[in-house]
Chain length 284, copies 2
């Protein structure tokens, strides 16, 4: 059995609390991940956890998980009161990990011959960003780029709403949008921008277009990306509105777009011809 | 110009504040809708607004809208402080309408020969419910049923996240789930339940199935509807997970399902044969 930490105030607690602030996260390249799902995913991937804080109740409930963590990192048992201070949720789940930043250079994503990449341009709401990350993971995306002024993926709300997906697929932060798009295009990806005012509807894109390796760009509410950002894409594409809603929210629009691509990818792999605009299919 | 209300404490203010509570809403069959978008949509549909509270700033900014409202309802100008008390948002938009309940009996929805109906079963989070309502509107749904223990659609968070869609399509509240499903099936709708553990994938449903008039049932997180509810559906259907995410969130799963149906409906109207399992298509 791993040694049981005492239930006082462990030295790492103050440092961990500071990670609520982006400036502290960026200086230390550490962030907080809360709850059993996040801790499980953080342990399963490449080593991300440096310290684990746990309440006695959570330790009992998730004994296997805590033991697995204790094999490689320091585990500090703390009181429910201290956990409440540390966790940024109304109902803390009793498990909170300090994790190393896990973002990778864009070259790492491009190097995997990606078929589906998500680019977040100026997405400011951390809950939305985390939900899109989760949806990108579900749709089998090969990476998510948090470009320019987009929210910090290590923000606790983003980590939480990603439901573990933050640890599943490569993320890239801080890349200037224009550079990222140029790099993705050079790597052979089509670049589509979700924009509610576009004249081309998603439903008009057949499998031939959707089946290409694609980078999808999403703006703040998926609707009305500024024209300078739209110009970076090959084509702006609108999720059609069949009823009377003015627009979809970002999470819903991203889900419809990413699943349209994922479905086309699952049905067959189009091969882009290097010297013509034609392409053939290979069943996947 | 409409008469300018004084900026004191209008008599309706206390009554309006009480509408933050579900019990008061249900007793009075009134609810609050905040912001210019909601007020605009509430005015555009069948008469829903009974009173409008507005700050001087918002009155100046949305003069046309406020004048339009003043033609039919009492407009009370109140201070920013009183608005902050009344509105349930961090940054109130200065316009808040008291509206009559707008839900209709299920028979009204069924009577329109609906092609796409959404049934929320035990959806508890008002933000999720409002987002699904908005997505249902965008996908051209003919109605949304808030069945059984689902959240109150008149909850301020649900109203807000519906982004005006609450006023766009018929909603039904309080219908027992089994009764609602039976009624929809009797009206000729196929009943599909979104469930992450289903063996049938959404991608396996062709236009022939998706193009039928359909009621989609969604549970609390679209994943793992309890078996007694699943049994009410013709078939449980999973949004496929191509990556490593455990599940999609409700808003994303609903968007993918509803747009799959909407796209099939847009491509052609399948006619269900009354005496065989075959069907033919009529271009729409």
């Amino acid at each position: 059995l791993p040694p049981r930490a005492n239930t006082g105030r462990p030295p790492g607690l103050t440092r961990a609390r500071q990670l609520a602030k982006r400036s502290h996260r960026e200086r230390t390249r550490l962030f907080l991940a809360e709850g059993p799902q996040a801790v499980r995913e953080a342990l399963a991937g490449r080593p991300a956890i440096t310290e684990l804080f746990v309440t006695a109740t959570a330790r009992a409930r998730h004994a296997q998980l805590v033991d697995a963590a204790a094999a490689s990192v320091a585990v500090h048992e703390i009181s429910g009161e201290l956990m409440a201070e540390l966790a940024q949720t109304v109902t803390p789940q009793g498990l909170l990990a300090v994790c190393r930043f896990i973002d990778v250079p864009l070259a790492d994503v491009v190097g995997t011959s990606p078929r589906l990449v998500v680019v977040l341009a100026n997405v400011r709401d951390p809950g939305n960003a985390g939900t899109v990350l989760r949806t990108a993971d579900a749709a089998g995306a090969d990476g998510v780029i948090f470009a320019d002024a987009s929210v910090d993926p290590y923000n606790s709300k983003c980590v939480r709403s990603s439901a573990g997906s933050l640890f599943h697929l490569p993320i890239v932060t801080g890349a200037p949008l224009a550079d990222a798009i140029a790099t993705l295009r050079d790597a052979g990806l089509a670049v589509l921008a979700a924009d509610g005012s576009a004249s081309l509807s998603l439903d008009q894109l057949g499998d031939a277009r959707l089946g290409l390796p694609t980078a999808w760009m999403f703006g703040n509410e998926a609707w009305g990306l500024p024209s300078d950002l739209l110009e970076l894409a090959d084509e702006p594409v609108a999720v059609p509105i069949y009823g009377r809603a003015e627009s979809l929210n970002l999470a819903a629009a991203a889900a419809v777009c990413l699943y349209a691509s994922a479905r086309a990818h699952a049905r067959g792999v189009p091969q882009r011809s290097s010297d013509t605009l034609g392409f053939g299919y290979v069943a996947s």
